[in-house]
Every structure is written in structure tokens, then in C-alpha cells.
Subunit: 157 residues, 2 copies
């Protein structure tokens, strides 16, 4: 039922709806949050999120199906073969959407003790935020941005 709803979104001409078709199921963005901070094993995702195994397996399968993660066998000495889930380049690019939500939550749904994570540049530790950027690499104010329809936009029925 949920999967049917997702399939409907995946067939949308709207790229927000298509993204949500893959990413919008409950838990999926939190699974990606764990993957971006280094989780690769089923047991790690399960321990971090406390979700039911069948739900976790379903969400990971969807992410593999749509090229957000890869599933590869790995084996530790003396243990049986297990599977490791790793982000693809497309998956790593979702950090931007997750940081957008993190930044918004830090500002508008603040935690009493302050933010638990900060966004930084690796090279010098300087603060980094998510925002709008022009083709010259300079920030654009939010109020100076607009979405414009193209010829591919579906016409009203």
C-alpha cells in the first residue's frame, strides 16, 4: 500500500514528488543520516534507529533499487557472510537535503541544550551553511530566488 503510493510519486513530473517517492517513507531519511555518519551494517542501522527489521529491510531495498546505496557481501573472520550497505555518489549528495532539514530544525524547532551537530568545512573547521548560490559561486538571498516553470511543466487539464 505504501509502496503503491511511492510508485505513484515516482511517476510524477515533479522532481520533489519523485524524490519523496524514494526518500519519503518513514525512516528513510534517518537511515541515510546514519549512513552519512558511517553506518554500513544492518545491525548498526537497527541499533541506532530501533526500527523493526522488516521495515529496515524494505527501506534499504528501496534505496538500493534506486541507486542511493549499494549492497555488498562482507565477512568478518569466523562469522557468516553478511551484507554491507554503502552510499553511492547519488546517496552522498543527499547530505545537502539532510543538512537543509537539520539547519531548519536547529532554528525553528530548537533543542534545549543547543544543536547536537554543527556543519563545518573539513580543511579549516569554519562554519558551513546550506543556501542559494549563483553560477559564480556566490550566495543569493532567499528573497531573491524564484522557481520558474519550463515547457515540460504539465499543462492544466
Amino acid at each position: 500500500m505504501l509502496f503503491m503510493a511511492s510508485s505513484k510519486l515516482i511517476d510524477s513530473s515533479c522532481s520533489i514528488a519523485r524524490s519523496l517517492g524514494v526518500l519519503g517513507e518513514r525512516w528513510t531519511l534517518l537511515i541515510l543520516r546514519e549512513a552519512l555518519t558511517g553506518a554500513t551494517r544492518f545491525a548498526e542501522f537497527r541499533a541506532a534507529l530501533g526500527i523493526a527489521p522488516d521495515v529496515l529491510a524494505d527501506r534499504l531495498s528501496t534505496l538500493v533499487e534506486y541507486g542511493v546505496m549499494t549492497r555488498e557481501p562482507y565477512q568478518e573472520p569466523g562469522a557468516r557472510v553478511r551484507e554491507a550497505y554503502r552510499l553511492t555518489e547519488a546517496g552522498r549528495e543527499l547530505q545537502l537535503a539532510l543538512w537543509s532539514l537539520q539547519q531548519w530544525g536547529d532554528k525553528h524547532l530548537p533543542w534545549p541544550d543547543g544543536p547536537t551537530m554543527l556543519r563545518r568545512r573539513c580543511t579549516d573547521g569554519a562554519a558551513v551553511h546550506v543556501g542559494y548560490i549563483d553560477e559564480q559561486g556566490h550566495e543569493v538571498r532567499a528573497g531573491d530566488t524564484q522557481a520558474v516553470r519550463t515547457a515540460a511543466y504539465p499543462s492544466a487539464d
Copy 2:
């Protein structure tokens, strides 16, 4: 049941989880998409999205409750009083998260006819993208960004 799950997320120390507690229900981000392109009336949201009235009413109530939208009465001549839903400043700031998803979907889940919406600067129509920015307003490469835990990060049990 769904609302209980959301409440659980809202109490998380993770600002991504808190944001999803308000925004992560099915349809909510698409309701915000419609609001960002000018929809204000219940009937407009319903016609654009084709969702059940009780689900739409529930999602709008959550958005009002958490300060993303306001609900105000309005009356057209000869008609009964209705309610208009408008984005607050916090709600307009969600354009960033929606554009992040749009940009990702355009690249990784492309539509056969090409993107239906483009992201532009109002003043000159130049292309705008969402990305990482330092304190001097210059773009930072994705590979040069990292999330760093603060003292507020919950310790492992």
C-alpha cells in the same frame, strides 16, 4: 498512530528527526510545495494534490501547530467565511529543503521531458542552485564538508 510516531521524533535531540516529526508525514512536503507556489485555500491544495480531505486537514493543522503556516478567516463576496493558509517566515525557509530535493530529483531521477521547474534569481533570471556556503558567502565543495558532534550530542547508553 502516525501522530504518535511524529511526537516521538519531535522529542529527539536530532534536528533532522525533529524536522521530520513536523514535515515527514506523507503529503506534507507536497502541501508546502503548493503553498510556496501560491496556494492558500483548502480547495486549492485538495485540487492540486488529490488527497483525502481528512488527511489534508490533519497535515495543515500540524503545520499551523508548529508555526509553519497560519490559518486566517477570509470571505469572498456572497460566500461563507472560509480559512486561508499562509506560510510564515519559518515556512518560507523550507523552500531550501524542497529545492534540495528538487535538484537531487532532477539529477538522479530525471523526467523524460527534462525538469519542469528551474531555480532562478529574481533580479536577473540567472540560474541558482542549493549548495554549501562559508561565512564569507562563498561556495564550499560537498567533499570539503563534515558534520561535527557538539557537547549536546547524546552520549551512548
